[in-house]
């Protein structure tokens, strides 16, 4: 028999599925900004922020919302192999597969893009762009210059990546920058409650008070991925007690002890 905490635990599995997207005030702002940007004749749009701030899910949400309306393509996994990457781009542009033993002639591809300028408007969403080499990024820039392909690049905000962005030739082509930040306590409270309510876990959601959210926030600093990890661990511990030692939990109260145990488990607390 499954524990009552099993579904709660699964709510917080980290994923970028559209169903898991929680429309928070801050994320709605970012989404609208991104949506507005792709309507503009911009070559490149940069979405950046620390890991776990919701970049991937934002791109995925955009893709899912426009996949039937626009010529939009989502590259979730970065392709470090240049040949493979341009095979993918070729397919996006020409809608044809290339035989695996052939190689894309890049200058021909650029020419082709110029030819279709004004006829088609292709949007390519590149997640984890920090994985691409600078050479590949330079080629992406050349493709974007053709004005027939618009690139939305999502990358982590670290010192190293900021150096790449800072490169003048690259920066000049980025017309829109959307920065995603960690959530506030209110954001996290809404996020947790909305996630649970989405799966009809009302009782559990009601038991999680502002005090508990404050404690969770203290450890996760408002990072959504860390919050997901923490709540997943909390409900996993709850699940264990529910199945093995019911006396140790109160189903009507959210336990501070279990939050702290989870923080110890995840390394937020160094004992």
């Amino acid at each position: 028999m499954d524990s009552r905490y099993y579904p709660a635990k699964n709510v917080f599995i980290d994923s970028i599925e559209i169903d898991d997207y929680i429309a928070l005030e801050s994320s709605i702002v970012s989404y609208k900004q991104l949506q507005h940007s792709i309507e503009k004749p911009l070559k490149m749009i940069l979405v950046f922020g620390r890991p776990g701030t919701g970049k991937s899910i934002l791109l995925n949400y955009l893709y899912e919302n426009f996949k039937y309306q626009k010529d939009i393509h989502y590259f979730a996994t970065p392709t470090t192999n240049e040949k493979e990457f341009f095979h993918k781009i070729f397919k996006v542009i020409t809608k044809k597969d290339l035989p695996s033993n052939t190689q894309v002639n890049f200058s021909t591809l650029v020419d082709y893009c110029r030819d279709i300028q004004g006829k088609r408007e292709i949007i390519v969403l590149l997640d984890e762009a920090q994985m691409y080499s600078s050479e590949m990024m330079e080629r992406i820039r050349l493709l974007a210059d053709s004005r027939s392909i618009k690139f939305v690049i999502a990358l982590h905000k670290t010192d190293k990546e900021e150096d790449i962005i800072a490169k003048e030739h690259f920066q000049s082509r980025i017309w829109e920058v959307i920065e995603l930040k960690n959530g506030t306590i209110d954001d996290i409270q809404n996020y947790v409650h909305k996630k649970l309510l989405k799966k009809n876990l009302f009782e559990i959601a009601n038991n999680i008070k502002s005090y508990h959210i404050g404690l969770i926030y203290k450890f996760t600093k408002g990072n959504y991925r860390e919050t997901n990890k923490m709540l997943f661990t909390i409900f996993e511990i709850y699940e264990y007690y529910d199945l093995n030692d019911k006396n140790k939990i109160d189903i009507n109260k959210f336990s501070k002890k279990i939050i702290e145990m989870s923080a110890i488990k995840l390394g937020f607390i160094n004992v």
Binding site: E236, Y240, K257, K265
Partner: protein, 279 residues
């Protein structure tokens, strides 16, 4: 699934670590509160065990005056912390000396003037003193002349009424406030002038010796000795004063003369010190 038991243990450890500073803080706060509330009690306890020596000491003396012989006995030298003793000539009243242990108190003469027991006791002492005095006349006296003052025998023989010291203990602060710093030596000196008590003379010799007035000290030691040649202290004080004045030869001679007739460890030690140049 995790090892929940291990996780629980780690959590307990974390809670202890988290709570310890608070326990320490509360403990310090408690001690502080305790100190604030019982400050006076704590200080009084500390003073009880470690009395402060403010160098204020006084000799509580029992004085009786008879027509011919004056009996004065130094009962006990009591260090009275932060207190001072005021001496008055009419009666003995000891106030606020709560710190003095019971063992000491019996020697202090009760301050009741009409106490018959006390009077009898004093009479006995006077009789003893008189017999001693008679014996003294046959014993050798110091062979040193002192021209400044002669003992007025007539005045000694002159009968006068019994007198008592009135000892009033007051706070040092109150003394300071009223500028009541008095000179015990001058009071005793006045009293000596009236009753020619050898103990008063001895007391003055000792007092001036302590003050460093060796010339005056030797005078009083001589006077004391002239009244009671058996008083070892008068011999020693005279010798010590002489030595302090640089007259070591005379000092040694005095001690040797005394040791011929008496056996005294103190005198022997003093003589030895002087001979070795350690005094």
């Amino acid at each position: 699934m995790y090892d929940i038991d291990l996780l629980e243990k780690e959590w307990r450890r974390y809670k202890i670590k988290q709570t310890l500073p608070w326990i320490g803080f509360i403990f310090i706060l408690f001690l502080l509160l305790l100190y604030i509330l019982n400050r006076n009690l704590i200080f009084s306890q500390i003073e009880k065990f470690f009395p402060k020596d403010k160098n204020i000491s006084a000799k509580i003396v029992k004085v009786d005056a008879t027509p011919s012989v004056i009996v004065k006995e130094i009962i006990q030298e009591i260090k009275v912390p932060e207190k001072c003793i005021e001496v008055n000539k009419t009666e003995i009243i000891v106030k606020e000396i709560t710190e003095v242990e019971e063992k000491v108190i019996p020697k202090i003469v009760p301050a009741v003037v009409n106490d018959t027991l006390y009077n009898e006791e004093i009479d006995k002492e006077i009789a003893e003193e008189e017999s001693i005095k008679e014996e003294n006349n046959s014993k050798p006296k110091m062979n040193i002349e002192f021209s400044e003052e002669e003992v007025d025998k007539k005045e000694i023989d002159k009968p006068h009424r019994r007198k008592y010291l009135n000892i009033i203990v007051t706070d040092k602060d109150s003394l300071d406030d009223n500028n009541k710093i008095f000179d015990t030596l001058s009071i005793v000196e006045d009293r000596y002038n009236k009753n020619n008590n050898y103990r008063d003379a001895l007391y003055l010799a000792d007092g001036y010796y302590e003050k460093g007035d060796y010339a005056i000290s030797q005078k009083w030691a001589l006077l004391s000795n002239s009244l009671n040649s058996n008083s070892e202290d008068s011999w020693l004080l005279f010798a010590k004063s002489k030595a302090k004045l640089g007259d070591y030869k005379v000092a040694e001679d005095i001690l040797e003369a005394y040791l011929k007739e008496n056996s005294s460890k103190k005198a022997e030690e003093l003589l030895k010190k002087m001979q070795l140049g350690k005094f």
